[in-house]
């Protein structure tokens, strides 16, 4: 599907109360254009629940369920099993969870659903921290980033650990479809959303980079630009893992990570040593992802 072929109609409509420039809102808007009206959505306790589903208003024109925070994958699976009973297996069941709800508190249910190969699409919109509660560190927060729980203090500054690699964990489950995407590469993103939609009857995992201007201390207009840069630096590899075969979709230019970090206030405090460490992380990640693609070729 080309961008021009996306429908004009939205199933995630306007009037939502996301912050200006919200990457998560854009990801969901585009994903819903691809998934279309025959979709049931699930939301954990996240920004999306608040900005898209505060009673009595709701931004989704499709059926919408919220239960709790850590159970997105199992709730989506519960819907999907019920639909199977009702003979409605064409309907897509999609969970939209953030990185905290996925990498940290939700990983048990996610792992279980992947292992049982539940018939769901799980979209992790990754804004690299707990944004709904006001920018706290998650397992998916990158090295060095300021958050309100990794404050820039006189002894420690920013997150000391590296980003948890959830797509790799999903690959370790031999999930039928795992893909990473960003808003910066439109044809690649649309292809992956479409594949996730059309590959019925199995577990599908998408991790989509979702810029958060307030959380990243970034200008609200930079979401698209930063979504390209993160791939160019090697901090985010675009790939697909499909039926056991891994394909890298874009070779990074390996532009210095500093080009990327300097646009975001969350990295403002980074020292030369910090930047060197993050640079090394990007290079290591690219090396490891290539090796994985080779192993799963």
């Amino acid at each position: 599907m080309k961008m021009k072929d996306l429908p004009e109609e939205d199933w995630f409509v306007n009037g939502h109360t996301a912050c200006p420039g919200c990457g998560g809102a854009t990801v969901v808007k585009i994903a819903m254009k691809v998934f279309g009206p025959d979709t049931i959505t699930y939301f954990p306790a996240n920004c999306l629940l608040v900005f898209g589903g505060t009673y009595p208003l709701n931004s989704f024109k499709v059926p919408y369920l919220h239960v709790l925070f850590e159970n997105s994958a199992i709730c989506a699976a519960g819907i999907s099993r019920a639909l199977k009973r009702l003979g409605k297996t064409d309907t897509s069941v999609v969970a939209f969870a953030g990185d905290g709800g996925t990498a940290d508190i939700g990983i048990q249910a996610l792992s279980g659903a992947a292992e049982r190969n539940e018939d769901i699409i799980y979209v992790c919109y990754d804004n690299e921290a707990y944004m709904n509660t006001g920018i706290q560190r998650s397992g998916a927060t990158p090295f060095g980033a300021w958050t309100t729980t990794t404050p820039v203090g006189s002894v420690e500054a920013g997150k000391g650990e590296y980003k948890k690699d959830i797509p790799r964990i999903m690959m370790a489950h031999d999930a039928p479809y795992v893909a990473t995407a960003t808003l910066g590469f439109i044809p690649d993103l649309l292809k992956k959303l479409e594949k996730a939609k059309n590959k019925k009857g199995c577990f599908r995992y998408l991790q989509i980079y979702a810029p958060c201007p307030p959380g990243w201390r970034m200008d609200a207009s930079l979401g698209a630009k930063i979504s390209k840069m993160v791939v160019d630096t090697g901090l985010w590899t675009l790939y697909e893992f499909e039926d056991g075969k891994m394909t890298i979709n874009k070779k990074p230019k390996m532009t210095p990570v500093e080009e990327y970090t300097k646009l975001q206030g969350r990295f403002r405090h980074l020292t030369k040593e910090n930047l060197a460490a993050l640079q090394k992380y990007a290079e290591d990640k690219w090396r490891k992802d290539q090796a994985l693609a080779e192993a799963y070729s």
Partner: protein, 296 residues
């Protein structure tokens, strides 16, 4: 006791201002409380904060419904929020506005102080953040706290959040605004439409809130109903569109988080729905033809 209601937008620091005022009153030996009211909105959406001050201990724990003073950090709010709602007729409005009090219309005539806090903030802080300057205006307009106490309140409350250096700058912004207020009485010409909210009885309310698209007296509820919420009022910058320059590449349409850009029938290209545009500027940023410019 006096009660103050602050009107701002998410991210403008109304809560910090309310707390700094409480701190200033506390420094002068009063009992003071300050608290926010958080709705579901995010950055840019209208928010409220409250301060209560008394010589004696304050026990009341409700929000403030009939304030003695209102403080408005963002003049655009007055276009669509009835900021004077419930304001005591003997009370006072302290507004961030370059206008004279007589030029401002709050829908009720009341003692009003205006200050161009945005200009003060740009001069002193280099950024249009008005939560400190407006406190200087509050001190001089009401005489309830001294400017020295307000400066102390800013240092105490802002310091731990944004650093002592920036807090000191903010204290200077308050002092600068202190001497630049204009006092008068505002106009009462406009009427604000009554805020509509669907408040069903428990019998009318869908069981467990499981709701289908439903038309109520107060508008649509349920799936797809957020279109009722016109988020265009959050906007500070507005896209200016040059249709001639537009190549109709649809990048702006794709990236708009608020689906405020629509594809139009040829030969027209795209149109902007200002009811929903929050002014993030992503359309200008992604436009390869420079056909969009964000303007104030």
């Amino acid at each position: 006791m006096y009660e103050v209601r602050f009107h701002g937008r998410g991210g403008q620091g109304a809560v910090m201002a309310a707390q700094a005022l409480a701190d200033a009153a506390f420094v002068e030996g009063n009992y003071a409380v300050a608290f926010p009211w958080f709705g579901a909105e995010r950055r840019g959406a209208p928010v409220l904060a409250f301060t209560r001050v008394d010589e004696n201990k304050i026990n009341i724990k409700t929000r403030v419904y009939n304030p003695d003073y209102i403080v408005v950090l963002d003049e655009k709010l007055m276009d669509f929020v009835n900021v004077a709602e419930g304001l005591s007729p003997d009370g006072m409005a302290i507004l961030n506005s370059p206008l004279d009090p007589e030029e401002v219309d709050l829908g009720m005539s009341v003692k009003t102080a205006t200050v161009d806090a945005t200009t003060v903030a740009l001069e002193v802080l280099g950024a249009p953040i008005t939560n400190s300057a407006i406190l200087g205006a509050f001190a001089s307009a009401t005489g309830l706290v001294s400017i020295d106490s307000v400066k102390q309140g800013i240092l105490d409350i802002f310091g731990p959040r944004i650093g002592d250096k920036l807090a000191e700058k903010n204290a200077r912004a308050a002092a600068a605004a202190h001497d630049r207020i204009k006092i008068g009485k505002c106009k009462a010409e406009r009427t604000y439409p009554e805020a509509k909210k669907w408040l069903p009885t428990y019998q009318e309310m869908p069981l467990s809130l499981a709701t289908k698209p439903t038309k109520t007296d107060s508008g649509l509820v349920g799936p797809g109903s957020s279109v009722e919420n016109k988020t265009g009022s959050w906007r500070t910058f507005t896209p200016k569109y040059d249709e001639e320059a537009c190549t109709n590449c649809l990048m702006c349409w794709f990236y708009c988080p608020d689906a405020a850009i629509k594809r139009l029938e040829p030969p027209k290209k795209v149109g902007f729905d200002m009811d929903y545009c929050k002014g993030c500027g992503i359309c200008e940023e992604v436009c390869p033809a420079d056909a969009i410019e964000m303007v104030r």
